[in-house]
């Protein structure tokens, strides 16, 4: 059985699928019994590839094949590695079922990979293919991408406390709203959380999903603890967790609601970024100190070994005086991520602490002071 593929056309697809495989190794201690994880499967003479790591899975259309095609599986990492390093663009594939081999190449170069047979009925395609009875809703791709973009960066690292390692999503009027926090900053995208039905997706899964979302018309559904996205000839699913930590997310609101405005002003984000990068490069301190004096905003940072640095930005008008210390990386990250050049920085008093809030359309970001 043979088929031909254009490497440039399909390489990105295989590399994406390989990311699911890589995530399996990271999330599970023991490798599954069979390492042949990338499944080639046909439905009505259409060849699909399918991969699953137990948490997320995906399928995609590859090409038309002959009638007598039998399903088989190869090791995703070896296959992707061989394909991406293959010297020519047009590649002929041949499956030798009797010898359990997938041979691909051209007249000059050939690769042979070990395959394993896959019984069609054993392929766990149900989760993606057999969802006809479910109500799929039209997916606003940009909305979902923004929901991930504006929340994943402020998630806590994997070793940290749950649920801070995940992004909380809730869907209202077919719009995605998301929230995350690493306990030093809070990101909120979309509407205010009011105890709505919500679910959690780990940062790694959300980042993976972001790469899979097709810009073309897609639809989505949430069914039996999984989030599904389907598009023409392809689909992606990932496990979601019920949000049993409503109190944590209600606490987020409390910081926004129970704080009093000290001052707020418009400033060009590039000026701040330039200043922050400058002072942090000299002092190498993770924290910086920010204070206002009349119409000047003063940034300073010091390091016992390296010395101190100070920089000023002139504002258009006088502002109320305040002073606070924040993490340099957190400030740079949020300013990098927002779209508008002229951004509004607001400083609020929360129980004697000066918190900073940055807003951009549907996005609100709160940073807690470090000292």
């Amino acid at each position: 059985m043979k088929f031909k593929l254009d490497k440039l056309e399909h390489l990105h697809k295989f590399q994406l699928f390989n990311k699911i495989e890589k995530l399996k190794l990271a999330t599970r201690e023991n490798k599954t019994v069979s390492s042949e994880s990338l499944i080639f499967h046909t439905i009505d003479n259409k060849l699909y590839i399918y991969i699953s790591n137990g948490i997320s899975s995906a399928y995609s259309y590859i090409c038309e094949v002959e009638d007598d095609f039998r399903s088989f599986a190869v090791d995703a990492s070896s296959f992707t590695n061989a394909l991406s390093n293959f010297p020519s663009n047009e590649i002929q594939f041949s499956i030798l079922f009797d010898e359990n081999q997938l041979v691909f190449g051209n007249k000059k170069t050939r690769v042979s990979l070990k395959t394993s047979n896959v019984e069609s009925e054993n392929i766990n395609f149900q989760d993606l293919f057999l969802l006809d009875n479910n109500t799929f809703l039209d997916l606003d791709v940009n909305n979902l991408l923004n929901a991930i973009k504006y929340s994943s960066f402020s998630c806590a690292p994997d070793y940290d406390e749950y649920p801070y390692t995940s992004i909380m999503f809730f869907i209202k009027d077919n719009n995605f709203n998301s929230q995350s926090s690493d306990k030093h900053r809070i990101s909120m995208f979309g509407e205010k959380y009011d105890g709505d039905n919500s679910f959690l997706i780990s940062k790694a899964q959300a980042e993976l999903m972001k790469e899979f979302i097709s810009k073309t018309s897609s639809k989505y559904t949430v069914h039996k603890g999984k989030f599904y996205i389907l598009w023409e000839n392809g689909g992606f699913s990932c496990a979601i967790e019920n949000n049993t930590h409503q109190s944590v997310y209600n606490t987020f609101n409390q910081f926004f609601d129970n704080s009093e405005l000290i001052t707020s002003f418009e400033i060009n984000k590039n000026d701040i970024l330039k200043s922050l990068r400058f002072i942090s490069s000299i002092s190498s301190n993770h924290n910086f100190f920010m204070k206002s004096s009349g119409s000047q905003l003063i940034f300073s940072s010091s390091n016992n070994e390296k010395g101190a640095v100070i920089d000023k930005i002139q504002l258009s008008e006088d502002i109320v005086e305040f002073e606070a210390s924040y993490l340099v990386n957190h400030f740079i990250k949020v300013l990098d991520i927002i779209n508008k050049d002229d951004t509004i920085l607001s400083f609020y008093d929360y129980n004697g602490y000066t918190i900073c809030i940055v807003e951009d359309l549907n996005f609100k970001h709160l940073m807690f002071p470090m000292e």
Partner: protein
């Protein structure tokens, strides 16, 4: 902000520790910490002020790190009391009297186990019949914990009071007097101990044959033979001490540690010798005092049988046959 007085140390039972913290700090969340460094990095006064960080078996470096942070409330949990009391953070807790000992009773220490059963019956408000107490004493789930010793780490077998209390809590919710029959469905997983196995041999209990394969698979025949040999040599020394000093535990301990011989004489150069005494745990001795021990003659015969078996095995004897024959010989001594 929490005061240092709230930091505490717990030893032994994890369940008891969390129960204590829940009872005494209502409204606080208990967070188990694996890596102190990560916890300190992620600590936020805005989110974590109502949390108690329960650090499991921290290393000395971790305790020093904890000592340098004064904004979180820590509870240190240790499997045993072998932590370093010289560390500043620990000595401060010692001074404040916040060390809680919930140690598991040592396997064989039935007096403490009986006391624990008495505590259970008071706290859950029910009674045990005598046969229930006897059943629990002979079938209590056991647990192996690693403790620090002079020569590294060693395993200690203890009664798993946590598991037992859960079972008793379930049963006592339906009955106010528990008899042995009530525990008929309670099958506890016991850590298969070489020492229980040796005890069974000494008591001529034929169930030791059932445990032989399991133990050989777990620790290997070499360890099985050498540990058995070492235990019987210990018993021989114990019986000798008992014959000489009667029931004076301290004197027998003195004898077993060879304190009556070591460093008594001068060396070749007429210098005083500074050799370490043989290490022996006095609790082990106290437990042995409550057990029946075979006579010196029987123990000597056993030693000969074991040494012969070791010789056979070294001369390419069959492991399966040699061990089976040895067990028969040991039981029939």
């Amino acid at each position: 902000m929490n005061n240092l007085i709230d930091n505490s140390i717990f030893i032994g039972s994890k369940n008891k520790t969390t129960d204590y913290l829940k009872q005494n700090y209502p409204g606080f969340q208990i967070i188990t910490v694996d890596k102190v460094e990560n916890q300190i990095k992620s600590y936020s006064r805005f989110f974590d002020s109502n949390k108690i960080f329960l650090v499991m078996n921290p290393t000395n470096d971790e305790i020093k790190l904890i000592g340098n942070t004064n904004n979180c409330q820590y509870s240190l949990f240790f499997d045993d009391d072998s932590f370093d009391g010289r560390l500043g953070f620990i000595s401060k807790i010692k001074k404040s009297g916040k060390i809680f000992d919930f140690s598991y009773p040592l396997l064989g220490d039935t007096q403490v186990l009986r006391r624990k059963l008495n505590d259970f019956s008071k706290s859950y408000d029910f009674k045990f019949t005598q046969d229930a107490i006897d059943w629990i004493i002979s079938n209590c789930p056991t647990l192996s914990i690693k403790v620090k010793s002079d020569s590294g780490k060693k395993e200690k077998l203890v009664y798993d009071i946590d598991l037992l209390s859960q079972e008793i809590a379930k049963l006592s919710s339906v009955k106010k007097e528990l008899c042995a029959d009530d525990f008929a469905d309670s099958v506890f997983n016991n850590e298969e101990s070489i020492f229980t196995f040796i005890d069974k041999i000494l008591q001529k209990d034929y169930s030791c044959f059932e445990k032989l394969d399991e133990l050989v698979n777990k620790i290997g025949e070499q360890a099985l033979l050498l540990i058995t040999l070492s235990q019987i040599l210990y018993l021989l020394s114990f019986v000798g001490g008992k014959q000489r000093y009667g029931y004076d535990v301290n004197k027998i301990h003195f004898h077993i540690c060879l304190k009556d011989i070591i460093n008594k004489y001068l060396g070749d150069d007429w210098n005083e010798l500074q050799t370490d005494f043989k290490h022996s745990d006095i609790i082990r001795l106290q437990i042995q005092m409550n057990k029946q021990t075979p006579s010196e003659v029987d123990l000597s015969k056993m030693i000969v049988f074991i040494v012969e078996t070791i010789k056979d095995l070294r001369n390419s004897g069959s492991k399966d046959q040699a061990l089976f024959i040895l067990l028969n010989k040991l039981i029939s001594v």
